[in-house]
């Protein structure tokens, strides 16, 4: 990982009191959370007929073809067969939106289509329909390498996400880095720590007994650290997601994954 250039790194080091680069996981040591799953959970993810998230993907497939809004259009009307048009899309999200002058995640992209093209109300975060569509779209990137863009437009946001990642917060005063870079593979309250890559979202989390988004998982961590979670849809989550996707660049998309 190339460290941010110029003043930014100096400011970050001064604030955190430790150089960021040291705690990073070397690229060749990155591991998907899949590797730390029990054999039963791996089997659940590998077999579409037993993966509970398949039900959500099927819902998404149905929604893809359903007309909606004043424009009476379905996703399929513009995008055709998702297996072709959506192939690789989730693997490069969050992506820079010129209209918003900042990166947006796939949920925001779906809602932009709904409001601007279909002329219908946006879907609420963690709603059944938004999860279904993003799971269906995400599945079209399954098996592909994560490939978000890191250029002069997205870099400030990746760096903002990286700062979030290294920032201690909450009553437990922990940063993401403390667990997921410094102690991955070790145990937290008897549970093995993963490196925290976003390569399977939306996924079926056994703890939730349902499919959920990356933002829901990030909120879980924040609540776990006794920090105030940002509201759903906050820029902070999108910046962090963009940083996490950059951190996971080249790793394989597993959507929809299964995790404990």
């Amino acid at each position: 990982m190339h460290p941010p250039h110029g003043i930014a790194i100096g400011a970050v080091v001064a604030v955190l009191g430790m150089p960021l680069a040291l705690a990073e996981i070397p690229l060749d040591q990155r591991r998907s959370g899949y590797d730390q799953l029990s054999p039963a959970s791996k089997a659940m993810q590998d077999d579409d007929t037993s993966n509970p998230a398949t039900l959500t993907v099927l819902d998404g497939e149905a929604l893809w073809g359903r007309k909606a809004g004043e424009a009476n259009k379905s996703c399929a009307d513009c995008h055709g067969d998702a297996a072709t048009s959506m192939r690789g899309v989730s693997a490069r999200y969050p992506a820079f939106s010129p209209a918003k002058a900042r990166p947006i995640d796939i949920e925001q992209r779906v809602n932009l289509c709904r409001t601007e093209q279909q002329k219908v109300a946006p879907l609420a975060h963690e709603s059944r329909d938004l999860l279904a569509l993003t799971a269906f779209i995400g599945k079209q990137s399954r098996g592909m390498p994560i490939a978000v863009t890191n250029d002069e437009k997205t870099r400030p946001f990746i760096e903002a996400g990286q700062r979030s990642y290294g920032m201690r917060q909450g009553q437990l005063n922990l940063s993401c880095q403390n667990c997921h870079d410094d102690h991955w593979g070790q145990k937290l309250a008897g549970v093995p720590l993963v490196q925290g890559h976003p390569n399977g979202y939306p996924l079926y989390r056994l703890e939730w007994q349902s499919v959920g988004s990356l933002q829901r998982r990030l909120r879980n961590c924040l609540i776990g650290m006794r920090a105030e979670p940002y509201a759903y849809g906050a820029d902070e989550y999108v910046d962090l997601e963009l940083f996490l996707m950059w951190r996971a660049r080249g790793m394989t998309v597993e959507t929809p994954a299964v995790r404990p």
Partner: protein, 157 residues
């Protein structure tokens, strides 16, 4: 299925909550099993028949990452012919608020007495599977499962 005892206990807890008022509630009461509950559930389903160990294999992972979704398989050694087959399989647990897990009816058309599902376990405990054979005999197997909890819990959303 006789759930009378549990219903009454829950009603007493709910009544106690209403009386005490929400403000004094430290933490919500956690439903738990009562001693003898599993034995009672077994007898309700199979009566006084003798249950012997054998013929049944109850397969569960010895250690699970999350008690919410635990794969469970029951296989019964039987030719599954008209003359000799498994009529039913019942699975019980000892620590959940209710002792029954699943009951399954089979017959010679099954070909194999091999069923799977996913269960919820309230904590580390032993499960028991009992098979009822066409000749009226009962056979069983038990297995202990160690259940770990998630490190960070989520608020109800």
């Amino acid at each position: 299925m006789d759930g009378f005892d549990i219903t009454r206990r829950e009603a007493l807890i709910a009544g106690g909550l209403a009386a005490a008022g929400a403000a004094s509630l430290a933490s919500p009461p956690v439903a738990a099993s009562t001693p003898g509950q599993m034995e009672h559930a077994i007898r309700s389903l199979i009566g006084e028949a003798e249950v012997r160990k054998g013929k049944v294999t109850l397969d569960l992972p010895p250690l699970v990452e999350n008690g919410n979704t635990v794969p469970l398989t029951v296989i019964v050694d039987s030719p599954m012919t008209k003359a000799d087959h498994v009529k039913a399989i019942h699975v019980f647990n000892e620590k959940n608020p209710q002792a029954n897990v699943i009951s399954v009816q089979l017959g010679p058309r099954a070909g194999k007495a091999h069923v799977s599902t996913r269960v919820r376990l309230a904590g580390t405990q032993t499960l028991t599977a009992i098979a009822e054979m066409s000749d009226g005999t009962y056979w069983s197997d038990s297995q202990e499962v160690i259940v770990t909890l998630a490190a960070c819990l989520e608020d109800l959303i």
